[in-house]
Amino acid sequence: MRQVKNLKTPVLIAVAAIVIIVAAALLVMQPGGAPAPSPSPTSPPGGGAPAPSPSPTSPPGSELRGALTGGGATFLAPQMFAWSKKFHDVTEGKIQVNYQSIGSGAGTAQFLEKKLDFGASDVPMPRDRYSQVAGKFVQFPVIIGSIVLVYNVPEIAFEKTGKYLNLTSEVISLIYMGEIKQWCDQRIKALNPGLADKLPCKDIVAVHRSDGSGTTAAFTLYLSLAYQPWNQTVGWGFTVKWPADEKAKGQGAKGNEGVAQAVLQTSYSIGYVEFAYWAKNKDKYDKEGGVAYIRNDNDGKYYFPTTENVAMGAVAGLQRYARKYGVLPAPDGDWNPVSIEFANPPRGYPILSFTYVFLWKDYSAEGYGDAATKVALLKQFFRWVLTEGQKRENVVEGYIPLPREVAELGLKALELVKP
């Protein structure tokens, strides 16, 4: 008891000291939070001039070193990690690019909150957000993915029949709308005369993503554009309400790997996955079913998802945009119309997904610290990504490099970025 009493005063003092320190820290921190943005308001009044003031600190190109942090689309992650590693080697370890695979929506949001140096998303900047920051940022595609339809129908497995299914946007839509319920439906048979007598009368399990994803966005955008009724009843986005869930046998799965696995495990199912997830498991799918040829409704031909066919689609989409609007897409413009022209292109494999990168036009005006170095690093990295990074040896299997015409857009965008 006496010991406790002896302790009482010192501990009381200690606790009081801690409380005072914490209170003091709070007081210091609150003004401390404000000064961080305050230098930025001081620089914009200088107009175009502020650039010289921070620049003396950063020497030119070759001596550049530092780290960048970006984040967003999970789809881009494996490719971005590969680029980052390669670029790290190329620059002899001077430049480190970190990528956080947090999802397109979160990547966009955190980029707009200036928590990331660059953002990446499977869809262009959404319209409502675009209007808030129009003219202040640039966006450009860095890589292409394509979405394939894989199916599990043992009766018509590629291994047994040597044939893959033919599908059209209409039939895919009707399956996911719950209108086509069985594999032996006339509308599927009509597209596949060679397999017509083998298609079983079993219920179709339509597998879709259960998490919000850019893959779903690209897939549903394609259906919306290619088949009007889909646009009216379902629409497109990271997550949609699948009518097949209610009317037929819909089934959700988490992530591309989840859908890929669910299709392999579930007989009589169909699902959409990024090209890479099919390419890695091609043999397994061939045993249970396969991957579908998709008809491009614009030229009426069936296309197999190969790198050439997907690249053909991307170039054709860009040409269509240029014809329609008379100019190539502006890097600081609204890319939603561009993504619409890329979807369901006039030629080539029709289901494409682009991953876009967002950069600010003026980093010091946005309140980033050490903007000069940051911009130099960003420019160097993305210039490399859009040129060397698109070479076959630097592209991860399953991704499709940008055709030269599309990569040019990104290089033009980089010219607009300044410290």
């Binding site: 606790v15 914490v22 929506g105 497109w236 990271f238 997550t239």
Partner: protein, 308 residues
């Protein structure tokens, strides 16, 4: 924000700790209690504030409708609540016998020197990362259950390996060690004189087990509610196997569905792209928190009644 958190968390903690150590133990404990209640209250307030936009727009309807259509910004969380209730109930029904069985086996049947080993092994299962359970569910348990159920039913009952039932079974396996740990501890604490008395009146080993289980019913109940809490809150593993079908209400266990926590885990990453999805997800969180409170209040009520 950080300052606010510090002020809310650290200072009351220090004050309570000081009171506990040097002023009066009882008061210090009470302060801690008040402080914890305050934290929970603040958390609920935060959920409500975040969910406010959609509650203003839709009223309470958001709690009682089953819909998830981001394209039309129409949300409801009833289906997720029903999924949570179904999977948790099924999981607890499957897990409790396993947990009691494991506890009794370890304490009664195994030779004394093996008890420690098996006890630790069961505890170890509880510490396994849930994503491992999820992967196992995805690749092994789901296809196995589909096969088993369809064979037993003699028809196609489970069209897919990933259903509410798969989620329930996986949950049952995951929560068993939690309940078992609590029950095992209780079982080991049965006083020697009581045990001797049980055998003295000529009880068989089986009867002795029954009497001892009755003696430690509070521990069993404790394990029950701990496991139930885990089952309701489990996220990753369930999200991987539950089928992720969140647009419509289902009460069929062999159908794919969704739970509140897996809905939040699946939809949160891209929720910021929509105007009302984040509020809708916080509504779901609020609902889960309220539901958890109700469950725990029931638990406390039952335990108190049993003790009289």
């Amino acid at each position: 924000m950080l300052g606010l958190l510090l002020a809310v968390l650290l200072i009351p903690y220090l004050v309570a700790a000081y009171g506990l150590l040097f002023v009066k133990l009882r008061w210090g404990l009470r302060l801690f209690g008040v402080f914890i209640m305050l934290t929970i209250g603040l958390l609920m307030v935060m959920f409500f504030v975040e969910a406010y936009p959609i509650i203003v727009r839709d009223g309470v309807a958001v709690f009682f409708q089953a819909d998830w259509d981001p394209v039309r910004e129409s949300y409801g969380v009833l289906q997720a609540l029903v999924g949570t209730v179904l999977t948790s109930a099924m999981a607890i029904v499957l897990a409790m016998p396993m947990a009691v069985g494991a506890a009794v086996t370890i304490n009664e049947i195994l030779p004394a020197r093996w008890r420690e080993v098996f006890g630790s092994l069961v505890d170890l299962t509880a510490t396994m990362p849930t994503v491992i359970f999820g992967l196992w569910g995805l690749f092994v348990l789901g296809p196995f259950l589909q096969d088993l159920v369809n064979r037993l039913a003699g028809g196609v009952v489970m069209t897919s390996p990933y259903t509410l039932f798969t989620g329930s079974v996986l949950l049952a396996i995951m929560i068993t060690p939690y309940a078992a740990a609590v029950i095992r501890e209780g079982y080991a604490l049965v006083p020697k004189p009581v045990e001797e008395a049980i055998y003295a009146v000529g009880a068989t080993r089986f009867e002795a087990v029954l009497i001892k289980l009755r003696y430690i019913r509070n521990y069993i109940l404790g394990g029950f509610f701990l496991a139930l809490g885990r089952a309701m809150g489990e996220t990753v593993a369930v999200a991987m196997v539950v089928g992720g079908n969140f647009a419509r209400l289902t009460t069929n266990l062999f159908d794919s569905g969704i739970t509140i926590s897996s809905l939040i885990a699946l939809q949160f990453p891209n929720a910021a792209a929509y105007q009302y999805m984040v509020p809708a997800l916080f509504t779901a969180a609020l609902l889960l928190a309220l539901f958890g409170l109700v469950i725990n209040a029931t638990a406390i009520y039952i335990i108190q009644r049993w003790q009289i």
